[in-house]
Each structure stands twice: as C-alpha cells, then as structure tokens.
Symmetry: C2
Subunit: 348 residues, 2 copies
C-alpha cells in the first residue's frame, strides 16, 4: 500500500499545460488565475481524479483545518454528546472535528506519542480525566489547547469546568425539598489528594445536608469505580439488599443515576415512590427513560461556546492569559423525584 504512486499536482500541471503554482492557486481559490485557465485546470483535476495531499500541505503551511477532541472513552454518552455539540459548533467556522480516545493507559511512551499527535491539529480540546496534574505540568504543547473537566490542572492552561459543587448541592436540596431524608450519593468519594469530579460533587451533597442540619453519613457514600451504568446498578442493588435504608439517591452522573433506577428496580424498590433519584449531566436519554430522570443541566451549550472562544483566541494570538470558566447549573425536574410538597418545600 501507498506503493502505487498517486497522481499529484505536477501531473495535473503537465496535463493542463500550466505550472504547478497555477494548479495550486486554482485549488486554493486564489484570485490571480484567468477564468479559462481555472476551468481547464479543474477539468484536468476531475479527469485524473486528483486529490490534494493534505499531509504535504500541512507540513508546508502548518495548518490543518482540524480540531481534535480527546475524550477518555467513546462510549460514555456524555462524551458522544459533547463531540456532537462541538462538531456542530465548529462547522460554521470551516473547521472539522476529529475525536480521539485517550484511554486509561498512561504508559511513558504512549503518553509521549499522544502528545506528538496533538501537534497535528490546529487546536485541541482535552477532556483530561485520564491525565493527572503532573502529566499536565510536564506537558508544554505548542498547540492551542483548552482543558475540559473537573480535576485540578496547572494554572497556565485555559480551562472550562462545570460547577460541580453547586450542581450537587442543588440536586440534594431538591431531594430534601421533595421529602427525602436518607440520601445516598452513588459514585461519591469523600476525600482525595486532588479535587476531582467525584469529590467535588460529594462535597455539594454534604453541604446541602449540613445546611439541612443533617450530618453526612459515610455509609451513604457508595463508590462506583468506573462511573459505568452496570457497575452503578450492581452497587446500589447490593447495598440496598444488604439493608441500607435510603429514600433518595444522588447519582453523580446521569449514567450512574439510570443505573441506580435499574438497580433499585432489581431489588423491588419503586422510583420515585420508595426512593427518589436525581442525576447530573442532563443527557439526552435521561428525558426518555422511565420515569424521566430529574437531573442537573451543566449548561452544555454555553460551555462548548466558551471552549471554542478560548480556542479561537489562542489560534489567533499566541499568548493570551489563561482563563478559567465555570458553567452555570440548573435543575431539570422530571418523574424520578416527587412534586415538592408545601410542607417540605424550601426557598433557594
């Protein structure tokens, strides 16, 4: 493969009886070409089935027309929805999105290779769940880059993040207002060296409880290693059938919350009558499960818009001071929580 020589610009030039530069000018839509010359060139291009070699163009110009989104996994809904939103937002600017997976692996050489890969794009959106603070500290990419995500990162990076604590607090306040008193936090983690999404959201849960004069009970913090739906389903089912007494669940993501609803069903609990459930992310699917999932909307569109603004800014001007944007959360009420009663409703 790549053995048979493909037709190239010089072939087109020869066949059309013009110089190589004229072909280049035509294909790049530059104005300094006569109308008839342009036509002849395009004819020959079509005839020979010529396709420009983007690798050569890129080596020469340094530009690619492509932006990369790097996500930990392709098959978490959250990331595919993100990719879709980013792609839609880039299209009008003539940029094109390429999605790559970082995976969990951070082997020395793999990580080096992937850094080299970043340089192949005009800009990079890095959802850096898999990377630690130190990895980022060591990296000095020459590409415009914006970090998406919750974990702690060095200050020099541009960064967009959800308001995790406020969102989890809002969700927990809502569960309390709906009458729940024993609220588990599924996927939660009480402490870690560096703040990540799990600890931040667990903090929001704890803050809401304390504001309602409840001491957060560590027994209600149920870890979910992979943040995956099946693991969440199994975890909640196991705890409840072991006798854990709950009437509310804060799922740290919508996938976890949907898993929670399935797991509660597995052990004969009804949602929302026995146990109320709230998620976090407002995935598209969450509106369509049964019952509809009450959740926290992290302001997806605004976050994507901000991310692209920061990216564009860096692409236009090399050194812009790093910004740190935090999204605005909102509660979306659906059937997995009860209508607030007058007695238990509280002001926000």
């Amino acid at each position: 493969m790549a053995k048979r020589r493909t037709t190239q610009m010089s072939d087109v030039a020869r066949a059309a009886g013009v110089s190589l530069m004229t072909v280049s000018n035509v294909l790049n839509g530059r104005p300094n070409v006569g109308a008839d010359t342009r036509l002849r060139v395009l004819e020959v291009v079509d005839e020979l089935g010529y396709e420009i070699n983007l690798t050569a163009r890129r080596l020469r110009t340094g530009r690619t027309g492509a932006v990369s989104l790097i996500v930990p996994r392709f098959d978490h809904q959250y990331y595919s929805e993100l990719a879709s939103r980013v792609s839609d937002a880039l299209a009008p600017e003539g940029l094109h999105l390429v999605v790559e997976q970082s995976g969990a692996v951070r082997e020395r050489e793999l990580s080096a290779l992937s850094l080299a890969r970043l340089q192949q794009y005009d800009g990079v959106l890095l959802s850096a769940v898999g990377l630690g603070y130190d990895d980022l500290e060591r990296m000095h990419p020459d590409v415009p880059i914006v970090l998406l995500g919750e974990q702690d990162v060095p200050d020099r990076y541009h960064r967009i993040q959800m308001n995790n604590t406020a969102g989890a607090r809002l969700a927990t306040d809502h569960l309390l207002a709906c009458g729940a008193r024993r609220i588990a936090v599924l996927g939660g983690r009480l402490e870690s060296d560096r703040p990540d999404v799990a600890t931040q959201r667990t903090e929001g849960w704890a803050a809401a409880l304390r504001a309602a004069d409840q001491e957060p009970d560590p027994a209600l913090v149920i870890p979910v290693e992979t943040f995956s739906l099946p693991e969440a389903r199994a975890a909640i089912a196991a705890r409840v059938s072991d006798g854990l007494d709950i009437d509310g669940v804060l799922g740290l993501t919508d996938e976890i919350a949907i898993g929670a609803m399935a797991g509660l069903r597995d052990v004969g609990r009804s949602v929302p009558d026995d146990v109320q459930v709230v998620g976090f992310d407002n995935l598209r699917i969450s509106e369509h499960v049964a019952p509809g999932l009450t959740t926290i909307d992290p302001g997806h569109d605004a976050m994507v818009a901000e991310a692209l603004r920061l990216l564009r800014q860096q692409m236009e001007e090399a050194a812009t001071p790093p910004e740190h944007v935090v999204g605005t959360v909102a509660l979306i009420e659906r059937g997995s929580t009860l209508v607030r009663t007058a007695r238990s409703s509280r002001s926000r």
Copy 2:
C-alpha cells in the same frame, strides 16, 4: 500560532553532538546505535522536550499508524459503541483510532475534501449511511477501506453488513410467538429505489407476518425520518392516540424502540402488557431501561473482527478481491416482551 519554531530533530542532534540520522535511529528504535550514544540522545530529547513531527514523518513514509472510523453522527449510541469496540480491537495491533463525522451534507466540495482526508490514514472504516451508491461509484480511494452498513454499494468495495432481513424476521417471529397480532414497524419504509436499512428490516417484518398468514398492513408502517429517539417517541404516541390499534412494536433500532416505549407510556399504554416492544442493535443501554428491551443482537464483535481482518488484509497486500460479510443475528429476550405461551409458541 505555529509561528514560534518548535525544537526539531536537528536541534537534538546538535545538542547531543551527533548527526540527525542518529537521533532518528534512536527514536525509531533501530538497532544500529551504540548504547551510550542512545542514552545521550534520549537525555537531550527529554531535556529539550523534543516531540517528533508526525506530519513530516508521514509525508516521508506514507504511514500514519492511525485508522479512521467515519460515522454519520457522533451522538447515536450505536456509533459510539462501534467506535469503542473498534478502538479496543485496534489497540493491540499498535494502531490508533480517529473518529470523524461525515454528517448528512454531501455538497460537491465537501465530499471531495473528505475524500482527500481519507488518504491521511492507514485505513478507513466507512459507515456510509450518508453516502449514496453514486458517490461511492465515483470514489476511487487509494486507502484500504471497508464499508460498514446496510445500503447498496458498488461491488468493488469490501463490506460488512448486518443480516437485516433475518434479524427483523426473527424479532417479528418472536412478537408473534408472544401473542402479538397487530405489530407496527416503527421507522419502517415499504419501498425505495435502493435497499437501505429501513426497507430491509421492514421486509423481514413483512416476511414474518406473511409466514403467519397475515397480510402486512401499510398503516402499521410508521416512518421515522431521523431514526432519533425523540422523533420515534412522538411518532408512536401520535399514531396511537389517533386510534391506531396495536399490541406489538418492532423498533427498527434500539433507540427507536426505547423511544417507542416512552411514547407508549405517554399515551397510557403499558409495556409489555398492552403493547410488546422489540428493538434491533442490542445497545448497552437496552439492558438497563425499564422494562429491559428485547432486541436483536447483530453480532457486533464478530463484525468488528471481520472488518479489521479485511482492513489488515488490504494494508498488507494491495489488491485483494473484495469480500462481502454478513453478520449473524440473535434474539435477546428481556422484559419488553412477554414470556412465550405454550399456545402461541412456534418452531423456528
């Protein structure tokens, strides 16, 4: 940007006091380098933070180490699960997956540009829902390529496809065996110029009905333009509240079937007691919705394995005769259909 000159191989060579080729040899793990020289070079690489320019390497070698998967949309579960599977299967071979979106747009220039983009990869898996037969007929990519998908394509392409007709037949047989008699096909289409996923699966549905001495009723064929969950939900709800009498739904995809379950709920029908539902795809989420979705598993892993086999074969040897692989379907029974009664069960 891209203005500030990045450190390159010649910088490393100078700093290490060796030639450029020695650096190249070290970085590519070639054997003809002395142990101490290798160490010194690696030290300098680390010190200068040198990263290889993959674009230059690619221009020179023609190889990229990357395979592209091109899907119509990022945010359909089916495609993100596919991406995940392909990525996992490529990793052991040292290849790396890049996912791009073809979109629905097929403007002349866009389509040409995207063809050029294909050449940037060592191989391409093209899920060509957006492209028509004629587009593919016109294309003569120089890259190893395997088409994934259901629509009609020129014979010269390697191609993997689900057994749509058999799958839909199996699903409909199952609904009949469970006692359903008025089975709608949501997302169905009775005819088109070229066979696509919708018509093939609708054919399977019709064949099953005919085998049970039912004449397929066109009123039971409910189109869903976008194959999206919300549209499916609205469509089934509208038909049923308009008085359409059904006791079974074949959703042409799992997303459509999940939408159907939500839509039926919206109009007060219970699944599976009033209406039984079967999907097609066996998405991961389908096991976790309420009730669990009975569906057709199209043999994902085998299809991915076959696709990569065909791709590898083309990468190793230029001209291999095109193969056309059809997957094997299987029924996955869950809560959205009733247990088969003795009376209505039938042999297959």
